[in-house]
């Protein structure tokens, strides 16, 4: 029996009406009515300003909003802005919308890739509705390397607060860099652009049973297939307040996806030594130092509680030496607490190896990582409490070097 298409007839009709395009902008949404209007206007300004001659479509993939988000996306016209902006679109600029599964992370990216292939888009960009500080220039910054310079993937770099993106600085960036050999700052990006050929290849070669983390797998796939990659600086990254309960889903999407990729990518990453810089347009990365309140005490307590309560789980995942060391630091007084970099790297690598072997349910492995990450985050916050931007960057670099230095340890675990 033929596989049923995940694209609805109504969506296909919209695509037929749009026809072939040069540029596709993907915008996954879920109840973003308050901000999506200005974001779409900014995207339109960016397209008209930087790509006035190109055929473009804005594709909204909505996860069942109840606040008319899709209607807002499709009703906004560049011509409405004309008197204020003096922008004039040479050709019709389409905005279309379709639905995906309840979570925008699941299915949205696949829908964007499918639409890009059907519309034969040369260049695509995925944008986040959370990026309320989006600038029209982002469109050019992300798309020009694809459209004009033959690049296949553009990942962003940002000006981040020194304590924003702790999962990226303490795990994703150093581990992707160590294993895949490229200094890609934001391997888990909510804004990035890619060529149509990269999109088509990924669409056809990947299983889409679970759409979560597809963006990270996409970027890793681009690295292993040796597509041309660069980074573009987008400026300030809006800090999105997250609840403690958001961490496990985030770990599933990021760390889970990364761990999942390691097995099929073994031939690639096992042959990689060291790491290479990636061409970056604009600044590499900037750190800003403004005040940001994070409850370190609470993080340490959650770490200690987790280590104690999940001992039996950790016995399945971690080596006795690593577990013993974690238990030792879990008993430290608050002022003495430190989760050293080397111990953290070994922890992560041991989790990765256990994940591969599925020593217990893989989702439980990911969940078990949450308290440990909180402990590492607490240490990072403490160590960099009074650090300058350069010092923070130096510490991140040092952690990356540790990940690279200890990579043989991961290989050793992998081969056991």
């Amino acid at each position: 029996m033929a596989e049923e298409s995940f694209l609805t007839d109504d969506f296909l009709r919209q695509l037929i009406n749009v026809g072939e395009v040069d540029i596709l902008v993907g915008l996954p949404t879920h109840n973003n009515a308050k901000t999506v209007g200005s974001i779409v206007q900014t995207i339109q300004s960016g397209l008209v300003g930087a790509f006035p001659r190109e055929r473009a479509v804005i594709l909204n993939v909505d996860a069942g909003s109840r606040d008319n988000t899709p209607e807002l996306v499709t009703s906004i016209s560049i011509d409405d802005m004309r008197p204020a902006s003096n922008l004039h679109a040479l050709r019709t600029l389409h905005s279309i919308s379709t639905q995906c599964e309840a979570s925008p992370a699941k299915g949205a990216f696949r829908t964007v890739l499918a639409a890009a292939e059907l519309l034969r888009a040369r260049a695509c960009v995925l944008l986040s509705p959370d990026s309320t500080n989006i600038q029209a220039e982002w469109i050019a910054t992300l798309l020009r390397p694809i459209y004009h310079d033959g690049i296949d993937l553009v990942t962003p770099t940002y000006c981040r607060h020194k304590f924003d993106g702790l999962l990226i600085t303490n795990l994703l960036y150093p581990m992707v860099r160590a294993l895949y050999g490229l200094k890609i700052r934001e391997a888990y990006a909510t804004e990035f652009s890619f060529s149509g050929r990269l999109g088509s290849q990924f669409l056809s070669q990947n299983s889409w049973d679970d759409g979560a983390g597809a963006e990270l797998r996409f970027i890793l796939a681009a690295i292993t297939a040796k597509f041309r990659i660069c980074q573009s600086y987008l400026g300030e990254k809006i800090h999105v307040e997250r609840r403690a309960s958001d961490l496990v889903p985030a770990l599933r999407e990021t760390v889970g996806s990364l761990f999942t990729a390691l097995d099929p990518d073994l031939p690639f990453w096992s042959a990689v030594t060291g790491s290479q810089p990636v061409t970056t347009i604009g600044s590499e990365h900037e750190v800003c130092l403004g005040p940001l309140r994070i409850n370190r005490k609470r993080l340490r307590e959650m770490f200690a509680t987790g280590v104690n309560e999940l001992e039996s789980v950790f016995e399945s995942i971690l080596s006795p030496a690593t577990l013993a060391e974690l238990q030792r630091i879990a008993g430290m007084e608050e002022e003495d607490f430190a989760y050293p970099a080397e111990l953290w790297v070994k922890t992560v690598y041991e989790f990765a190896a256990s994940y591969r072997k599925s020593v217990i349910n893989r989702d439980h492995i990911i969940q078990a990582m949450a308290p440990l990450f909180r402990g590492r985050a607490c240490t990072f916050l403490t160590e960099n409490r009074n650090s300058s931007a350069d010092e923070v960057e130096s510490n991140v670099e040092s952690l990356c070097v540790d990940f690279e230095r200890l990579k043989p340890y991961l290989q050793q675990l992998w081969n056991v």
Binding site: I16, G19, L90, T92
Partner: protein, 557 residues
């Protein structure tokens, strides 16, 4: 003067409808380019008269003749040195009268040029005016001791002129000119000039000409602190000429040449008491733009901005003419796009435009040529066909100025393309000889012999257009299918409705049209007269091949 004495002698074949220009298809031709009857290498009135059967068979019912007056020909006749005669190269006044009569016999009206804004600097009026500061005709032109007045006026011929003022060494003063410096502007603040221009019109109207194309009319009057275009005083002058013409020569027509935005053009129609027709300049480049972009937006956008005009008035539409494809009425962004896509060679560019003919602009793609003519014939207005475009003639960008699109008409594949018996080197301009567009490949004789030639297709579409008044007189309502590559509209006049669907794309397209307002009608395709499925409640699905278009008469039976 009694009206009976001013009517042309032979008007029996012309219909008496005073709105005749609404149903017309106009053929634009330069006497010099069409047919040489005396072997001197230059087309003439007798030659044109010999070819009236060809023009009649094409199906057009009006001819617009470019300037044929005595002139030093430094601007292809738009530099007139005598308004009351004809250039000797083209024949005599009697020859013109015979042409006029023969055209009328065939039901074809004649539109001539009235270059009213300026004269040649060789015109006796200017020679007198410059002869001394106290000459009676001194004030017939615009003089100044300095070149500082009217700084707000733009320079139109940017490639050749650096100022709108030119120094006259004879009278040691500056004279005003909006075009070439050898074309001094007449001073319409002077009542004597206005009276004399009416005398010029009267001269030709009495002879029987049916209409004037008034050249460069926005520039008639100058005022300090303005851009010297479209001034209220200009409209006063024009209304006065129109009133006199209507009183003395009813049924004649004035056509405005004013390269302006539609909103600025609107006043030239007045309350139906100024011009009968005006060229819709901004639409033309946007038709080319829409075709290249494969997007209807440029066309629908400019037509949305086009104001309603009085019922007796009409837009005049064209694809190409004797000038460059003007890009004055587009944005910088659009101009750059047009240059890059239609004139990649700098030699193809002139002033703010592209000096190319229709077929080369469209890469000699028959489908695109047909689609563009289909839109020309079906959008609201009176279409004008530039001579030679009906057979897909090419151009010669190696000739200077706009002469590359003014080469001899290609009648056959024989000597001099059948245009003249003169030695080839005596022709007023070289023939097109390249392998694609040269006269051996592109000529009337060959196309008349081929049922499916462009020429015969043009005859068919003109005939189909003429089968209904809806195209010339009907309203337009744009349909807005989501597929932006489709330009669709319904033309309606009384109970008659015609649906036009154009595929601007180079690939096949499907389109769903909302035709609920026409539920129950049966679309009859107007070329083949075949029925299509009856219109119902559901979106009406059509598929169109690359650059295909349909005209459907929506019949309620």
């Amino acid at each position: 003067m009694l009206r009976e004495t001013v009517l042309p002698l032979n008007v029996s074949s012309l219909n008496n409808d005073p709105l005749w220009y609404k149903d017309a298809v106009i053929y634009q031709v330069h006497v010099r380019t069409f047919q040489d009857s005396n072997g001197d290498g230059i087309g003439d009135f007798q030659g044109l008269e010999q070819k009236l059967d060809y023009i009649q068979e094409l199906g057009v019912n009006a001819i617009w003749l470019m300037p044929f007056f005595p002139s030093p020909l430094r601007d292809d006749g738009y530099d007139i040195s005598d308004y009351h005669s004809v250039h000797p190269s083209y024949g005599t006044l009697d020859d013109f009268r015979k042409l006029l009569s023969s055209a009328h016999d065939r039901g074809i009206r004649i539109i001539i040029e009235l270059v009213s804004n300026h004269t040649s600097d060789q015109h006796p009026w200017f020679q007198e005016s410059r002869s001394s500061r106290d000459n009676p005709r001194r004030n017939w032109y615009v003089w100044s001791d300095t070149d500082t007045p009217y700084k707000g006026a733009r320079i139109i011929f940017l490639d050749t002129e650096t100022s709108n003022w030119a120094w006259d060494p004879v009278s040691k003063a500056f004279y005003w000119h909006r075009f070439f410096s050898h074309q001094p502007d007449l001073n319409y603040d002077n009542p004597a000039v206005r009276e004399e221009m009416w005398n010029v019109m009267k001269f030709w109207l009495e002879m029987g000409v049916d209409a004037f194309r008034l050249d460069a009319i926005p520039y008639l009057v100058e005022r300090e602190g303005t851009n010297c275009e479209n001034l209220p005083e200009t409209h006063v002058v024009l209304k006065e000429l129109r009133r006199k013409m209507d009183e003395n020569f009813p049924g004649r027509m004035l056509l405005a040449e004013a390269n302006q935005w539609p909103a600025d053009l609107r006043p030239y129609f007045g309350d139906g008491d100024e011009f009968h027709m005006a060229f819709h300049f901004p639409l033309m480049p946007r038709m080319f733009m829409a075709l290249k972009l494969e997007d209807r937006k440029p066309i629908t956008e400019i037509l949305q901005q086009t104001p309603v005009i009085p019922p007796s008035c009409q837009w005049s539409l064209f694809l190409r003419n004797h000038d460059e494809l003007t890009l004055e009425m587009v944005t910088d962004l659009e101009r750059d796009y047009m240059y890059d896509t239609y004139a990649e060679s700098k030699m193809m560019r002139l002033n703010l435009g592209i000096r190319r003919r229709l077929a080369p602009l469209l890469a000699n793609d028959r489908r695109r040529i047909e689609l563009m003519n289909g839109m020309l014939m079906s959008l609201p207005g009176t279409p004008i066909i530039y001579y030679g475009d009906e057979i897909g003639m090419g151009d010669n960008i190696n000739l200077g100025d706009r002469n590359g699109v003014r080469t001899p008409m290609q009648w056959d594949g024989g000597a001099n393309a059948g245009f003249s018996t003169a030695p080839q080197e005596r022709l007023y301009a070289p023939l097109i000889q390249d392998p694609v567009y040269g006269y051996p490949a592109v000529n009337v004789l060959a196309q008349e012999a081929s049922e499916h030639s462009l020429l015969n297709w043009m005859k068919r579409i003109i005939a189909v257009r003429g089968s209904t008044a809806v195209f010339g007189r009907g309203s337009i309502e744009f349909l807005r299918p989501v597929n932006h590559r489709i330009l669709a509209y319904v033309r309606r006049l009384g109970n008659e409705a015609v649906l036009v669907v154009n595929n601007l794309s180079s690939s096949a397209q499907a389109v769903e049209l909302d035709l609920r307002a026409h539920k129950g009608t049966i679309p009859i395709e107007m070329f083949g007269k075949n029925m299509f499925p009856r219109v119902g409640d559901l979106p009406y699905l059509l598929t169109l091949g690359a650059y295909q278009f349909y005209w459907f008469r929506l019949r309620r039976i």
